[in-house]
């Protein structure tokens, strides 16, 4: 691993200054579970690592029934899972965040890091997308907001410009008759990386028969985690039956752009998208009906 310098600022302003000074050669360090491995393999090179874990705002979780959930970018998955409101009100988020590695990885890995790593297979990202989460980004010119679905632009590349820092993720407050679910497929039971993944969010009609609105997002089957607009739109207004699930699955299979690699083949991934979208939708519908336990 190439040598680098390390700073651990305690404020967003200092962190942004340091990142701006370092430019392309500086990178924030959150949990490090992806970044340190990439540095060791020479996949990334840096001169500066800016440890953001000592910035209080980035370590904070807040929940308010009217405002929703705000998760600091350096909050670990373990902390997220221990927060009572997260697992109660955002079980779909926990579906994704809770399976990033085993407990030792959970103790370091962060939601912000998973997003900023921008791996096509990032497990928490489809869940954040279907939940309508928004990124708050700090820079020298102030802060800006970007929806999660627009954050990743290519494998391991994001909209963050040099000197910018992801501060937090905001999740809208949970609404009645809504539910979300994320499922992935891995060869092993857990401690594995997705061959394909699918998240679904639905809002049901008052009689719970119809899907009023839905969002479907996929992982590991496109250059970035993918919001499938066609499938999301096709579900709106439909009776929540197997036929409509199958149609959403078909549209998602059409929209995905899988590649063949060591983890899976194109036909397998496209097939799995169909299976997982249906299963995730069933899970989301059950949650919207209050039938599925929260975790």
């Amino acid at each position: 691993m190439r040598p680098f310098a390390y700073e651990a600022p305690s404020s967003i302003a200092t962190a942004v200054d340091l990142l701006a000074q370092g430019g392309e050669r500086a990178r924030p360090l959150a949990g490090g579970t992806d970044l340190l491995v990439q540095l060791r393999l020479g996949l990334r090179e840096v001169d500066w690592l800016i440890d953001i874990k000592r910035i209080p705002e980035l370590r904070h979780i807040s929940y308010d029934p009217n405002e929703g959930l705000v998760v600091g970018a350096a909050v670990t998955c373990a902390e997220l899972g221990e927060h009572p409101d997260v697992r109660r009100h955002y079980p779909g988020l926990w579906d994704g965040a809770g399976i990033i590695g085993g407990p030792a990885i959970q103790g370091r890995a962060t939601l912000g890091g998973n997003l900023c790593n921008a791996a096509p297979s990032g497990d928490s990202i489809p869940a954040m997308i279907v939940l309508g989460a928004t990124c708050t980004i700090a820079g020298l010119q102030g802060t800006r907001r970007v929806p999660v679905e627009a954050f990743c632009i290519a494998p391991h590349r994001t909209v963050l410009r040099p000197g910018e820092l992801l501060v937090s993720l905001h999740f809208p407050p949970p609404q009645a008759r809504t539910g979300a679910c994320y499922l992935r497929f891995t060869p092993r039971a857990e401690m594995d990386i997705a061959v394909a993944g699918a998240a679904a969010w639905v809002c049901l009609s008052e009689d719970y028969r119809r899907i009023e609105a839905a969002r479907i997002a996929l992982s590991a089957v496109a250059p970035t985690p993918l919001l499938v607009h066609s499938a999301s739109a096709a579900l709106a207004g439909q009776v929540a039956d197997e036929r409509c699930l199958a149609e959403a699955a078909r549209l998602a299979q059409e929209a995905c752009q899988p590649i063949a690699d060591v983890r899976g083949g194109i036909a397998q991934r496209r097939h799995l998208v169909g299976v997982l979208v249906k299963r995730a939708l069933r899970g989301a519908i059950q949650r919207a009906k209050g039938e599925l336990p929260h975790d």
């Binding site: 691993m1 040598p3 497929f185 060869p187 092993r188 039971a189 857990e190 401690m191 594995d192 990386i193 061959v195 690699d261 060591v262 983890r263 899976g264 083949g265 036909a267 397998q268 097939h271 799995l272 299976v275």
Partner: protein, 761 residues
């Protein structure tokens, strides 16, 4: 967990005091506290850190190596290449019981003229820190001439395939091949007349099977620390299964007398056959000599995958014929085993095992050892047997289905016995194959309901021949009546405990009075590698000899004390006794030990053996799986492993061995395999994409120990560790078939392959 050899299965039961109990392992306290010193844990004063530069090409000629910039980097103490080995012409070198090519031995340590796989060692650096050593590697300039690689065994056999060794001709009893070839050797076994056997068959089945290259997956990477004395003596601390073989593998390339090398084996963090071959010892020794200070080399995980000795990928063509009543009439196998860069795959043991379970009147086995541009394969737990058994036991299951027979019944109808003449020409001596099968058939698991859809149950039978060979043991009697047992056998499975138990049984002493240790190459007589499931068996015999020697010597001392001939003294349960003119004399072992050394010098028993008769063993496994019909994911619901161990010295350790082997077998069956690009780049040299089973992938494994004692071991030990990795892939394939209707013929049986076989994708 049950230790329940059925009464029928246990022959000649004897009551023992220590054998068959479950004392705490002697190595456990150091291991649970982090005090045990493994290869990477060795630290010496002034120690430097070594790193190895490895080939990015699967096949290339080395035109030149320029190390000058690396040597100039501050903090670098030494850089070495194959030139530092100063090798000249090829000759035969001896390592253990094997003859190996001197050039191949040297070249696998540091490539001289060609690199033959990605990860092949080219140069090594010693520096003041691992990071500086890595920085220095980037400064070494190697001028390669890339050559086309070949990584598939069948492609490598084609006449127009790129040649790894331009001067290599196929070795065969039929005479060498006319032209150079990647087929390093060819052998054929023939019994009877296979054509006639197939003509007599009512049913003939034929399939081709493939298995991927898989790795032992030990968690401790290879590591060695070398230090030279000014007068030219080398001390090497290394993680190895055989300290004497490690010594030979360093002595040969360095041209150093064996007496000038002391190998001190460290605690071994898993080996499974993968730590018989030296990969970093020679480089560490060369660097240490050049740097004039101790040098430690520790491999990274990627290096372990790329540059050690996984086991062969294979292609197996198999054909069997049987009568309607299930009796086998003929069997024919072609085994094509990849050996990696240099000759010597386990294809021979594959041949020994493929038909070893059954009476087969007519048979033929053709074995091909084929070099490809992958790392030179090493041994992996019953080397060669798992691939071959996957093929045979899958086809036997298919035969049972075709004939409408119970799969265990079909196997029993053909089962091999003592005296069975095998296709390989040898005859089984005492074996427990039938006892194992009957115990398996009677196990509640075999009859239990499957309890749901998409579920299936598979069984498979596996054989491994085990090993004997050379062992050295020494027992020192201490002045307080305790004893110190030292052997030359590295402990990779808990043998310090199982050997001490055998000593305790013979000596009639409590186990806690026996300190059990591993001696280094300066201390002990030559001991073959702890391999082939041999240590509790063969070193056990050496220990029993040493213990008997102690008793003989102690009896002589007692006799001297009592003024009697030695043969008048008897020894029982820790007491020496004799009828003397003054009445019955008695003295405890401890009381005699206090006086013994003063009487005639220290009492030290020794046992040095070369065990030439060893007992093969069988295991049968039952597995239930559930297959997700939409994703092809296999969930293992229940697993039972039945095995003949001869005699269970420590049932707890045996259960652990068997459970561990089954877990490895599950990995081999479902998840594990090297994945290569056509250019010979391995795509998954890490634990994320080389997927070993976790706690969630392995069910609790029920172990049933059967004891059919091996008559040539004092307690009946056969050996345990290897047999249980042989049946799992076949058993799981058969279970998947019963769950899905799809016959899987390629390992690993990934969800993708299962979906394809089911016609889903």
């Amino acid at each position: 967990m049950s230790h329940q050899g059925t009464p029928r299965a246990i022959r000649g039961t004897k009551r023992y005091t220590v054998i068959g109990t479950r004392p705490p392992r002697v190595d456990a306290p150091d291991k649970v506290t982090g005090r045990a010193i493994y290869g990477p844990d060795v630290v010496l004063p002034r120690m430097a850190y070594g790193k190895i530069l490895r080939s990015p090409y699967a096949h290339a000629r080395i035109r030149a190596i320029d190390t000058s910039q690396a040597e100039a980097l501050p903090g670098v103490y030494a850089v070495v290449t194959a030139r530092d080995l100063g090798q000249t012409t090829d000759r035969t070198a001896q390592v253990g019981e094997s003859s190996v090519s001197f050039k191949f031995l040297c070249d696998n340590n540091l490539a001289s003229d060609k690199v033959l796989y990605v990860g092949h060692a080219v140069a090594a650096v010693a520096a003041s820190s691992p990071h500086i050593a890595e920085d220095a590697l980037k400064l070494i300039k190697v001028d390669y001439e890339p050559l086309p690689p070949v990584t598939d065994v069948l492609e490598a056999m084609r006449e127009d395939a790129p040649l790894l060794h331009e001067g290599m001709y196929t070795e065969s009893l039929a005479g060498p091949s006319e032209k150079p070839s990647n087929i390093a050797s060819y052998f054929q076994y023939l019994k009877g007349d296979p054509a006639q056997g197939f003509a007599e068959a009512d049913v003939i089945l034929e399939r081709e099977f493939r298995t991927a290259t898989v790795h032992q997956g030990y968690l401790e990477p290879h590591a060695a620390t070398a230090v030279w004395s000014p007068d030219g003596f080398l001390t090497l601390y290394t993680t190895t299964q055989g300290s004497f073989d490690a010594r030979a593998q360093v002595a040969e390339p360095l041209g150093c007398p064996l007496s000038k090398i002391r190998v001190i084996p460290t605690e071994v963090g898993g080996a499974f056959g993968g730590k018989n071959i030296s990969y970093v010892d020679v480089a560490a020794a060369l660097l240490a000599r050049k740097a004039g200070r101790p040098v430690k080399i520790t491999m990274s995980r990627a290096e372990v995958f790329l540059a050690t000795g996984p086991t062969s990928g294979s292609v197996i063509r198999l054909k069997i014929g049987a009568k309607r009543d299930g009796r086998l009439t003929a069997a024919k196998a072609e085994l094509f085993y990849e050996v990696g860069a240099y000759p010597g795959s386990p294809v021979g043991s594959g041949a020994y095992c493929i038909f070893a379970s059954y009476e087969i009147p007519h048979g033929q086995i053709d074995c091909y050892d084929v070099v490809v541009n992958k790392p030179k394969t090493g041994s992996y737990r019953a080397p060669g047997a798992t691939q071959a058994t996957f093929a045979m036991e899958t086809l036997i299951d298919e035969l049972a289905e075709k004939l409408g027979m119970d799969p265990i019944e079909l196997r029993l109808r053909n089962i091999a016995h003592e005296g069975t003449l095998l296709v390989t020409g040898n005859r089984h001596r005492s074996i427990g194959a039938e006892e194992v099968l009957r115990t398996t058939r009677n196990h509640p698991h075999y009859k239990a309901p499957l309890g749901g859809p998409h579920r299936g149950r598979g069984v498979a039978l596996g054989y491994w021949g085990n090993w004997g060979a050379r062992s050295s043991a020494m027992i020192n009697v201490n002045e307080d009546g305790t004893v110190t047992l030292t052997t030359g056998s590295v402990d990779i499975t808990g043998t310090r405990t199982s050997l001490a138990m055998q000593a305790a049984e013979v000596l009639g002493l409590p186990l806690e009075n026996i300190r059990s240790t591993v001696g280094d190459t300066d201390v002990m007589g030559y001991s073959d590698s702890s391999a082939g499931s041999r240590t509790t068996m063969a070193t056990g015999i050496a220990v029993v000899e040493a213990a008997k020697d102690v008793i003989t010597q102690m009896k002589a001392r007692a006799a001297q004390l009592w003024g009697l001939p030695a043969d008048k003294v008897i020894y029982e349960r820790g007491m020496f006794r004799a009828n003397t003119p003054d009445g019955i004399q008695e003295m405890s072992f401890a009381a005699l030990a206090r006086q013994a050394s003063a009487m005639g010098g220290p009492v030290r028993g020794k046992g040095d053996v070369n065990v030439r008769r060893w007992g093969g063993a069988f295991g049968a496994h039952i597995v239930d799986v559930e297959v997700d019909p939409e994703t092809g994911k296999v969930h293992i619901l229940r697993y039972t492993a039945v095995q003949d161990v001869g005699r269970a010295i420590h049932p707890g350790q045996i259960e652990g061995q068997i459970q561990g082997a089954v877990a490895q077998g599950i990995g081999w069956a479902l998840y594990e395999g090297y994945v290569y690009t056509p250019q010979g780049q391995m795509l998954n040299p890490n634990f994320l994409d080389y997927k070993m089973p976790t706690t969630l992938d392995v069910p609790p494994i029920d172990v049933v120990i059967v004891e059919v004692p091996w008559p040539e071991h004092p307690f009946g030990v056969r050996g345990v560790g290897e047999v249980p990795i042989v049946p799992p892939p076949a058993a799981i394939a058969n279970a998947i078939y019963r769950a899905t209707g799809a016959r899987l013929t390629e390992l690993p049986m990934t969800p993708e392959r299962i979906l394809r076989s089911m016609g889903v994708i």
